[in-house]
C-alpha cells in the first residue's frame, strides 16, 4: 500500500513539473470499492468459477480412488491422492476386448496430426498465395465454393469421400484420414493465408518480379520468411482442430487406427463392466491435455487465430 502511494506521489510530482498550472488531468479517479466494481468483479468471478468448475472436477476426480468417489461428492478435494487412475487410463483401460488403454489412440492421433498439419498448411498456403498474388480468371469462383464448403454440413460429403478414399485404397488408413483433414482444413486455412498475403505490401512482390523471381522463387524467398506469425496461427488452428476431431475419425478409420477422441469415447461410454469414474476422468483429461497445452502456451495467438478464422469467415 505504501509502495503504490509513493509511486503515485512521484508520478504526480513528475506530472506537475511537466504540465505546470494546467490543472488536474486524466480521468477522475474512481474509488476502488465502488458498488459498480463490486458487481463487476463479483459477476466476473462467479462466471470464472462456473467455467473452471468442470476442469477442477476433472482433476480432482482423477486423483481419487473409487471408494472415495462413491462416498464423497465430486467437488471435494481428494483426501488421498493417487495417480493409479492415470496409469490405468494410459495403459490398461479397455475398449471392448482390447485393453491397451489410451496410449494407442494417443500415438494414432500423433501419427494423424503431424502429416495432416504439415500437408494442409503447405497446400493451403500455396493456394492462398496463388489467390492473393497470382490472380487468374476463375480463381474467385473456386474460392467462393471453398468458403461455402466451410459452412456446408460435413454429413453431405461424408459418403462421397468414403467412395473416393476406397477407390484410392486409403479408406480405413491413417493416410486416408490425413487426406480428409487436408481437404476440410483447406477453406479456413486458404482464407487465412489469402488475407494475410493480400495484406503484405504489393511493392515487395512487384520488386521481386522485376528482379526475375518466379512463382516458387517469390513464395520461398519472400513470402515464406515474412509470414511466420500466420503460419503459427495456422498451426494452432490445425493442431487443436485435428486433435479434437471426432466425426472424421469415427467415419474414416478402423478400430486399430482410431484417433484418441474416438477411443476415449469408446472407453468412457462402453457399457460393459463397472464404471470407473476416476479412470474415465483421467482419460478425458489426458485427451484434453494436448489442446490445453497448445492453448496456454500460444495465448494471444490462439485468440488471433480464431478471430481471423471467424470474423472474416
Amino acid at each position: 500500500m505504501a509502495d503504490t502511494a509513493s509511486l503515485n506521489m512521484t508520478a504526480a510530482s513528475a506530472d506537475a513539473v511537466a504540465t505546470d498550472l494546467s490543472g488536474p488531468r486524466g480521468p477522475r479517479p474512481r474509488p476502488r470499492f465502488s458498488r459498480r466494481n463490486i458487481f463487476l468483479y463479483g459477476a466476473l468471478f462467479v462466471v470464472a468459477v462456473y467455467y473452471l468448475l468442470p476442469l477442477y472436477v476433472m482433476i480432482v476426480t482423477s486423483l481419487k480412488g473409487m471408494p472415495e468417489i462413491r462416498l464423497g461428492n465430486i467437488f471435494s478435494p481428494p483426501v488421498e491422492i493417487t495417480f493409479q487412475p492415470w496409469v490405468k487410463a494410459w495403459a490398461e483401460a479397455c475398449t471392448g476386448l482390447n485393453c491397451e488403454g489410451l496410449s494407442r489412440g494417443f500415438w494414432n492421433s500423433v501419427q494423424i496430426l503431424v502429416p495432416s498439419v504439415v500437408l494442409s498448411i503447405a497446400v493451403a498456403s500455396v493456394n492462398g498465395y496463388a489467390l492473393a498474388n497470382w490472380r487468374f480468371k476463375g480463381a474467385d469462383i473456386f474460392f467462393t465454393i471453398l468458403i461455402f464448403g466451410a459452412f456446408i454440413p460435413y454429413q453431405v460429403m461424408l459418403y462421397p469421400l468414403v467412395i473416393m478414399l476406397r477407390e484410392l485404397g486409403l479408406y480405413g488408413t491413417l493416410w486416408g484420414l490425413v487426406l480428409v483433414h487436408t481437404v476440410f482444413g483447406m477453406p479456413i486455412l486458404t482464407l487465412l493465408f489469402r488475407n494475410y498475403f493480400t495484406s503484405l505490401p504489393e511493392e515487395l512482390f512487384k520488386a521481386a518480379r522485376v528482379d526475375g523471381a518466379g512463382f516458387w522463387g517469390i513464395y520461398f524467398k519472400i513470402m515464406l520468411p515474412m509470414s511466420l506469425p500466420i503460419f503459427v496461427v495456422a498451426i494452432i488452428i490445425q493442431v487443436t482442430g485435428i486433435w479434437n476431431d471426432f466425426l472424421f475419425g469415427v467415419v474414416y478409420t478402423k478400430p486399430d487406427t482410431y484417433p484418441m477422441t474416438v477411443q476415449l469415447n469408446n472407453i468412457v461410454n462402453s457399457v460393459q463392466g463397472v464404471k470407473e469414474y476416476n479412470v474415465n476422468m483421467a482419460a478425458t483429461l489426458l485427451t484434453g491435455l494436448v489442446p490445453l497445452i497448445v492453448y496456454f502456451i500460444s495465448g494471444k495467438l490462439f485468440v488471433r487465430g480464431i478471430a481471423a478464422g471467424a470474423v472474416k469467415g
Binding site: V57, M58, V123, L158, G169, L247, Y277, T287, Y295, A307
Partner: protein, 459 residues
C-alpha cells in the same frame, strides 16, 4: 487503300473477329469433349444403353467426335492467322513443347501400362490406380494435350508485343504455375465440395441401402424421413438447441465481453479462463458434463448431501429436459469464442463515440443498447452465421454426453445421418437426412452471403 489499313489494324493487335470466334469454338470443343467423356464415365452412358451396339459406339465415339470438331476449329484458327506458324519464333514455345511432351507421355503410359504397373508395385495403390486411369483414358487425354499444344502454337504465332493475348492463351498459358499450384484447391472445390454435395443430393432420390444404387424412388426417402419419430425428435431437439444456443451464447457472450471491456484488472486472466473450454473437444466437454450432471455423484448428489433431500437436477436422465443438459455443456464450450468475437467488435468501436455519449449524458446501458450494438451489426451477423452453421453439425457432444438417450430423447440430425449411413445400412435415409441438413444451412447462408458479398459488388 482500305486493305492496307485493315492489315495494319490486324498487325497492331486487333484480332480478326472471325479468328476469335474460331478460338472460342476451339475452347468449347475441348472442354465439351472432356466433359462429355467424364459424363459418360460417371453414368450418362446409361442413356445410350437401349441403343445396343450403336449405343456403345456413341459412348465411345461422341467425345472423340467433339474433339474432332475442335480440331477443325483449330485448323480454322490456324488458317485465319495472319502470321506464319513456326515453332522457332513462337512466344509460347515452352508451353507448346510441354503439352506435346505430356501427350507423348500419356501415349507411352497407355501403351506400356501393364509393364509399368508391375514394375512400380512398390509405389502402392494410388500409383497403380493412376496408371490404370491412363490406360483407359490415356489416348483421349493425349489427344486433348495435342490440341492444346496446337492451339497454343497458333495463338502464340503473332510476334508483335501489343497484341492482346488470345482467349486460349489466357486460359492455358499465362500464369500457368499459379494455376497448377491451385489445382488441389480446384479439385477440392469441384470434386469434393460441389461434386460430393450434388452426388449426395442425387442419391437421396434412390433406394440405396447397404451400397448406393441407381434405383430411383422419387421423394419416397423424404416421405419416410418425415414419418419417422426419431427424425422428428431430432429436428425438434435441433430447433430447441439451436434457438437457445443462439440466444444464450450471444447474450452471455456479449455481456461477458462488455464486462471485460470496462478496463478491468486481470482481463487477460479472465479471458483465458472463459476461452479455455473452446480449446477442448466436444467429446471431452460432453464427458466432463456427463460426470458433473451425474445424479448420484454430481450436482444433484451434492445438494442432496447438504440436506435438501428432494432436490432433483438430472437433465441427462430426464427425457423432457435432456436437451437442456446438452445445451449447458455446449454453452460452456462455445461462449468463450463468442465473447472473444464480441470483445474484438467492442474494441473496434471508436473511443470518441463513448466520449460523445457521455457528454450527452446518456446512461451506459442505453449507449450499449442503442449505439454500440447497432454499430456492431456485422459482428453480430457473422457470429450468428458461425453459431448457426455450428449448431447443425452438433454431433460429438451428443454422442459423448448421452449417446442420444435416454431412449431417443436427445437425438440430433447429424447423429441420425451417421447412424443410418454407417450403422443402419440405410444409405438412402442418410442421404435424404443430410440433404435436409444442407437445405437448412443454405436457408441461413444464402441471405447472409447475399448481404455480405452481393452488396459489395454492386457498390
Amino acid at each position: 487503300m482500305a486493305d492496307t489499313v485493315e492489315t495494319a489494324v490486324a498487325a497492331a493487335g486487333a484480332r480478326p473477329a472471325e479468328r476469335s470466334r474460331w478460338e472460342r469454338w476451339l475452347i468449347w470443343g475441348i472442354a465439351g469433349g472432356i466433359l462429355l467423356r467424364l459424363a459418360m464415365v460417371l453414368g450418362l452412358s446409361v442413356w445410350f444403353e437401349p441403343l445396343g451396339d450403336a449405343g456403345d459406339w456413341f459412348i465411345e465415339g461422341l467425345p472423340w467426335l467433339v474433339l474432332a470438331l475442335a480440331a477443325c476449329a483449330l485448323f480454322a484458327v490456324a488458317s485465319s492467322s495472319t502470321n506464319s506458324i513456326s515453332l522457332s519464333d513462337n512466344r509460347l514455345r515452352g508451353h507448346v513443347i510441354g503439352w506435346t511432351i505430356a501427350a507423348l507421355l500419356l501415349v507411352v503410359l497407355d501403351l506400356l501400362g501393364p509393364q509399368i504397373k508391375s514394375s512400380v508395385a512398390f509405389l502402392g495403390k494410388p500409383a497403380r490406380i493412376f496408371i490404370e486411369f491412363c490406360g483407359v483414358h490415356g489416348t483421349f487425354l493425349a489427344a486433348v494435350c495435342l490440341l492444346v499444344a496446337g492451339a497454343l502454337a497458333t495463338s502464340g504465332s503473332e510476334k508483335h508485343l501489343v497484341s492482346r493475348p488470345g482467349m486460349f492463351e489466357r486460359v492455358w498459358a499465362s500464369n500457368l504455375t499459379a494455376k497448377i499450384a491451385a489445382v488441389p484447391m480446384m479439385l477440392v472445390a469441384l470434386g469434393v465440395f460441389t461434386g460430393g454435395t450434388i452426388w449426395t443430393v442425387v442419391y437421396s432420390f434412390t433406394d440405396s441401402r447397404l451400397l448406393p444404387r441407381e434405383k430411383w424412388v422419387g421423394l419416397a426417402q423424404y416421405d419416410r424421413l418425415w414419418g419417422e419419430d426419431r427424425w422428428l425428435i431430432s429436428i425438434e431437439n435441433l430447433l430447441i438447441y439451436g434457438v437457445c444456443s443462439l440466444v444464450f451464447s450471444i447474450v452471455i457472450g456479449f455481456l461477458l465481453a462488455a464486462m471485460l471491456d470496462q478496463k478491468v484488472r486481470f482481463e487477460n486472466t479472465f479471458r483465458t479462463i472463459f476461452l479455455y473450454p473452446f480449446a477442448l473437444s466436444f467429446i471431452v466437454t460432453g464427458l466432463v458434463w456427463q460426470w458433473v450432471l451425474n445424479p448420484d455423484f454430481g450436482i444433484q448428489g451434492m445438494v442432496r448431501s447438504l440436506g435438501w433431500e428432494s432436490f432433483t437436477f438430472d437433465p441427462l436422465y430426464n427425457q423432457d429436459i435432456v436437451i437442456y443438459g446438452i445445451l449447458i455443456a455446449g454453452l460452456w464450450q462455445g461462449t468463450g469464442l463468442i465473447m472473444c468475437l464480441m470483445l474484438a467488435g467492442l474494441r473496434g468501436i471508436d473511443e470518441e463515440i463513448w466520449k460523445a455519449a457521455r457528454i450527452d449524458g446518456i446512461p451506459m446501458w442505453k449507449t450499449y443498447l442503442f449505439i454500440v450494438i447497432p454499430m456492431m451489426r456485422p459482428v453480430f451477423i457473422t457470429t450468428l452465421v458461425l453459431i448457426a452453421s455450428g449448431i447443425v453439425r452438433v454431433y460429438d457432444l451428443v454422442v459423448a454426453q448421452t449417446s442420444g438417450g435416454p431412449g431417443i430423447a436427445s437425438e440430433v440430425p447429424a447423429k441420425y445421418v451417421y447412424d443410418k449411413m454407417f450403422l443402419g445400412q440405410n444409405l438412402g435415409q442418410g442421404f435424404a437426412a443430410s440433404t435436409v441438413m444442407l437445405l437448412s444451412v443454405l436457408i441461413v447462408l444464402i441471405p447472409w452471403a447475399y448481404l455480405e458479398f452481393g452488396g459489395k459488388k454492386r457498390g
